[in-house]
């Protein structure tokens, strides 16, 4: 039947439809200024810092959980990075420790959620507040200038924030991570387990899938990519700010919903997460090109998020009814 196929096709490709739609809209509305090399380079540099977190959050959402601690994990990892850098530790060790810290935070979130069987909303709300409190107390909310330390590490700077043939390295990282996650999600056993866990946990358990382990792995992947995003941001910004990663938690969830994920788990795909994670930053950037006052940009982004979340849910229900 053509209709169900269209609906299924639409929901799987809604992310790219929206991305292309906004791209065309802003390009025409800005008389092609939106596509200027400077603006495109900025987007290619800045979208990935959010995008790599969003694709991991998407994986977690498919498994049926959410993570609100993202906006605390990122500045916490960035803070540890800056402390270790100032202490003169070997760069490779610093990166390893920070990535390990991200994994550990994800592990804590996962273990508490699955073993204590409390909603991930509560667990990660708690860890978000715990991490933020420790961060505020220890850092004194001070901004730490990193430029004078990073000057001595050109390889590190190039590795995370350089350019390859004019393309920002952050974008290459994003593509690589999305590719790896996409292959795992759509072609590997783990991906099927993630879908099964999020789609029907009891049925998945009955099939022998270790749903607790699957969810914990997803939490750890979120933590890992938060740490990577933190390193990218602090190297690019050349300073530690406590507001790094601010609002990433809610925006990542919104990006995944726009990209086709369900808030109840079991639905979503990597292409949608990639496009979805590009849409919010693109809208935030593109709206300034419109010949309208830019006050109220937040409201516009909010309308976009709510509209497509409603549309997404409507289409899911239409498919389910058939």
């Amino acid at each position: 039947m053509p209709k169900p196929f269209f609906l299924k096709f639409y929901i799987e490709y809604i992310g790219i439809f929206l991305f292309i739609g906004f791209l065309v809209f802003f390009t025409l509305a800005s008389r092609y200024a939106f596509l200027s090399p400077a603006n495109i380079r900025t987007l290619l540099k800045l979208i990935p810092e959010f995008g790599i977190v969003a694709v991991a959050v998407g994986l977690l959402m498919i498994s049926g959980e959410i993570d609100l601690s993202v906006s605390s994990t990122i500045p916490s990892c960035a803070y540890v990075f800056s402390l270790l850098f100032m202490a003169g530790m070997n760069v490779f060790l610093i990166v390893s420790v920070v990535l390990g810290l991200g994994l550990f935070i994800g592990l804590i979130n996962g273990v508490i959620t699955v073993r204590a069987r409390i909603p991930s909303f509560m667990t990660t709300l708690g860890t978000m507040m715990l991490l933020r409190g420790i961060l505020y107390a220890h850092s004194g909310m001070l901004t730490i200038a990193m430029r004078r330390y990073l000057v001595d590490e050109p390889l590190l700077v190039q590795f995370f924030t350089g350019e390859v043939a004019g393309v920002p390295v952050q974008f290459l990282w994003f593509i690589l991570i999305a590719l790896i996650f996409g292959i795992v999600l759509h072609f590997h056993k783990l991906g099927w387990w993630i879908y099964a866990t999020g789609g029907n946990k009891e049925a998945a358990r009955a099939m022998g899938i270790k749903t607790d382990l699957v969810k914990t792995i997803c939490f750890m992947l979120v933590g890992l990519l938060c740490a990577l995003s933190a390193i990218m941001q602090i190297v690019r910004v050349e300073a530690f700010h406590v507001v790094l990663g601010n609002l990433y938690d809610l925006q990542a969830i919104a990006a995944c919903v726009i990209g086709g994920a369900s808030l109840f788990g079991g639905i979503g795909g990597m292409p949608g997460f990639v496009w979805g994670s590009a849409i919010i930053p693109m809208v935030q950037n593109g709206i300034v090109f419109l010949p309208v006052p830019v006050a109220g940009t937040t409201a516009f982004v909010g309308i976009v998020i709510v509209f497509f979340a409603l549309l997404n849910t409507f289409i899911e229900r239409r498919i389910a009814r058939r």
Partner: protein, 367 residues
């Protein structure tokens, strides 16, 4: 799908919980346990509180400090950040010098929570309260009740728009947002005119992460008046909402705006993050230092770098350390001798000629 009935906490869960609890306790203890000569700091996320552990031992062992036994409370509207960190440092340093106990609360822009902190401090009969008055009406009654209960209240950093005529607080310590904006607008306009910019026809953009905030409104008004006095057309001056204080978001908006409006040469920002990110955004948009005339507020590493690189003409330093520091001494003197005085912490305009000292003092949370 029905929920499985919980079976009760298993041994595994209990063991994991104990181990996690020990690890968290150990980490928190390591981070928060006082070291010799350092004040105890504890913070909660829902309005961080900083409590002084007690008087610091001075060189003259046994000498009583003048403020011993007194408690002063600072209730700020801020969310945690480098700006409030300096206010807090000034406040705690003064409490330390006087030997008084200092408590520092941040309401994270929640006025109701801010009022609650004030009420709680009044109930505890502290020796003085300093708060940031970010609403012309919400603080009138709580402060009146505090004064009626014998607790002195002063404002710092932000005040009622009508000053003492609008709120019963006893004094104000801080910088006038309006005069700070005015001096910034005048300074940048002067530099732009010297370089041959025609202010009459020039469009101007004022970036902000908090378009509805009182500091943006007043600073923006001051900037506008400064520009208009120099010959600019008020119809050419526009506010630009940078959406949030998240760094990449601000950069995306600023870069996009600079790219879309290459005819605009005159820019301002009314808060710390939008000032901090401007240099990077201007570079990303392909602008050179001579292409832009920019003034902002506060001093963060990005802003200091921008001044050194030539993208930031000047930034206003509120000298917020003094707002925390003088607040304590004023409350102390008010309690003892009923002194009452407003204190202007000034509008230090920082440019290339005097930025060097900030690179030294900023990490110490003094500037």
């Amino acid at each position: 799908m029905t929920q499985e009935k919980p079976k009760g906490i298993s041994t595994t869960v209990a063991v994991v919980g104990i181990i996690v609890g020990i690890i968290i306790g150990a980490v928190a203890g390591y981070l928060l346990v006082p070291q010799a000569g350092v004040a105890t700091v504890t913070a909660t996320v829902a309005g961080p509180t900083v409590t002084k552990a007690g008087p610091t031992v001075t060189a003259t062992v046994g000498a009583k400090k003048p403020g011993e036994g007194m408690t002063f409370v600072f209730v700020g509207h801020w969310t945690a950040g480098p700006f409030s960190a300096v206010v807090q440092k000034g406040f705690l340093d003064a409490c330390d010098e006087l030997g008084a106990k200092g408590e520092f609360f941040m309401a994270e822009a929640d006025v109701a929570r801010q009022v609650r902190y004030i009420d709680e401090a009044v109930i505890r009969k502290v020796d003085g309260i300093v708060t940031t008055i970010i609403s012309d009406t919400a603080f009138d009654e709580p402060i009146q009740k505090a004064l009626a209960a014998g607790v002195n209240v002063i404002s710092a950093n932000a005040d009622d728009s009508q000053g003492a005529a609008g709120n019963p607080r006893k004094s104000f310590i801080g910088q006038s947002f309006y005069t700070a904006g005015l001096s910034l607008g005048q300074y940048v306009a002067k530099k732009a005119i010297e370089k041959g910019l025609d202010l009459k026809t020039q469009r101007v953009a004022i970036f902000t992460s908090f378009p509805s905030s009182p500091w943006h409104a007043e600073r923006g008004r001051g900037i506008r008046d400064g520009l208009v006095q120099a010959g600019a057309d008020p119809k050419n001056i526009a506010d630009v909402d940078c959406i949030s204080e998240e760094l990449a978001t601000v950069e995306r908006v600023q870069t996009g705006y600079l790219t879309a409006n290459r005819d605009i040469k005159l820019f301002f920002a009314t808060d710390g993050i939008t000032t901090d990110r401007f240099t990077i955004s201007a570079k990303a948009a392909g602008a050179k230092p001579e292409d832009v005339f920019f003034g902002g507020f506060d001093l963060t590493p990005g802003t200091v770098d921008g001044i050194m690189d030539g993208y930031v003409l000047a930034s206003i330093d509120q000298q917020q350390y003094l707002q925390g520091y003088f607040a304590v001494y004023l409350l102390y003197l008010m309690k003892k001798y009923e002194f009452v005085s407003d204190i202007d912490t000034g509008k230090a305009l920082i440019d290339k000629s005097n930025v060097a000292i900030y690179q030294e003092l900023s990490p110490q949370k003094i500037r």
